[in-house]
Symmetry: D2
Subunit: 169 residues, 4 copies
Amino acid sequence: MTDRSILVLTTGGTIDKNYFDALSEYQIVDSGIPALLKEARVALPFRVVEVCRKDSLELSEADRIAIAKAAREAPEAQIVITHGTDTMTETAKVLAAEVPGKTIVLTGALSPARFAETDAPFNLGMAFAAAQTCPPGVWIAMSGQVFDGLKVRKDREAGRFVGVEPKCT
Amino acid sequence: MTDRSILVLTTGGTIDKNYFDALSEYQIVDSGIPALLKEARVALPFRVVEVCRKDSLELSEADRIAIAKAAREAPEAQIVITHGTDTMTETAKVLAAEVPGKTIVLTGALSPARFAETDAPFNLGMAFAAAQTCPPGVWIAMSGQVFDGLKVRKDREAGRFVGVEPKCT
Amino acid sequence: MTDRSILVLTTGGTIDKNYFDALSEYQIVDSGIPALLKEARVALPFRVVEVCRKDSLELSEADRIAIAKAAREAPEAQIVITHGTDTMTETAKVLAAEVPGKTIVLTGALSPARFAETDAPFNLGMAFAAAQTCPPGVWIAMSGQVFDGLKVRKDREAGRFVGVEPKCT
Amino acid sequence: MTDRSILVLTTGGTIDKNYFDALSEYQIVDSGIPALLKEARVALPFRVVEVCRKDSLELSEADRIAIAKAAREAPEAQIVITHGTDTMTETAKVLAAEVPGKTIVLTGALSPARFAETDAPFNLGMAFAAAQTCPPGVWIAMSGQVFDGLKVRKDREAGRFVGVEPKCT
């Protein structure tokens, strides 16, 4: 694969939650990311690989190491990772330590992609662009901004990420 | 306004087309962009300003000069312009000549934002990210890619943009 | 087929209009009705048959006769017909004359089914229910009401149907 | 109010469930039914009154009596009740005993109205039509059918209602 390809790793999170009436609850299902990318008419070559299907509050250190391993061992140099927003910054730290030399952009959503009104497609678009335009490092694309992945936190009550902007020029 | 603010100029295009049953035809209406940005939970400061409401096949040189003027005279250094896709590259040339020193990202959509399935939010997300991460210059965010705005063309039949990737690192 | 089955005849209309960027216009496409019925989790047996794909302003008398013929010759006694709203009442007259002894409900939409916000699924639901609960005759389900198909007209400017309520009990 | 008006009583259920990221769970919120009726371009006079916001597994006998009281004391003779699907048939029994002389149609959805793909608008359309076309009694509009409210049950695993069709002609 050329360095033009983008790898998308899916790990779960709200973005992929669906409601199951028979269970009276929401569960993470097979990722809606491929469908979103098709709807977005993405013509750039890409792959989508599922690493796990977890709410990020349930990710263990071993899970984060597995996500980092998938990123490190892939041929692609530009990687988007969809992830639950609650512990996205934790995974960012592990990625920064474990995966040098690649542009990695974490994103997710506060509303499931299956909702009529959702931040999912916009966030995925931000991540896709940042994966192409940012220098190697770990970034987070949420709340309309591209953040340095190590200098941002989630303000859970406000439903937004706050932090330091990237210096990529 | 700080240089963290993003200016969004809307000019029309498919992204803002709506169907009017009483007229048996489509028309470009008040922009759906503000609603899309709200749905995307964008927390970065931004303004949305309508320049015109035209299918890009109907834009005159005077219209493109007006778009460039709005970009040049605004205080913001990071600008997203939503635009019809058919002559987006024409406007890019005028912007490159008329608006130095700013990061300008053109985007649009092949399906109206009002559709259930549309590339509009994803493209807008790409543009928002590119406006923050690309160096000064004119860029086009379409078909899942961020292009150098002067090195890209629209393949109308294929429904995609093809061109040269940006060198922003 | 038992008399529990419902036949859905599709003829075109706004309900099935889609926007084609490459042509800069809306066109009627393969019907979205099967997808709508699947999304609605309809468990009642039904068939969907396309009769034509026309804006109802373009339907000729021969077209209306063909629609009536399809309704008359089908084994089902309960029929829903999706149709452009502009001349729905014309087709209703032909059906009343040509197809005795069946419950036929015409419906359509003022916004294409492909739109995020559309009256299409609600109208289709009204028609499905009326096909089961109304006595033989021709009915029109639009604007939240079930009308006697021969005592209703479309107020184009107001975007609604006005008429006489059904007497089916 | 004339007997042309329709009263919509909302009680909760999946149809009105929304996902709250800050709580990592779903909750029933202010009803989406008014918005759905507006999107459906309903021109018939109607009122929407919230009785409660409960998953139907949590409804008590007192809740069902309260729903019946609201139906009985209203001036309208045609009533739609949106309700969780799990115990819809229980409420139907109470309504049949407590509210004579009115046409009451219960409906709900297996997917929240806020989803991009949902049975909510179709089911609401079925109920609106049945409220106008069925004789006095209690009916259930789900799974594409209008059932006698006392001769139907929910098959939870199959995600559909099964029962006896109405005899309303």
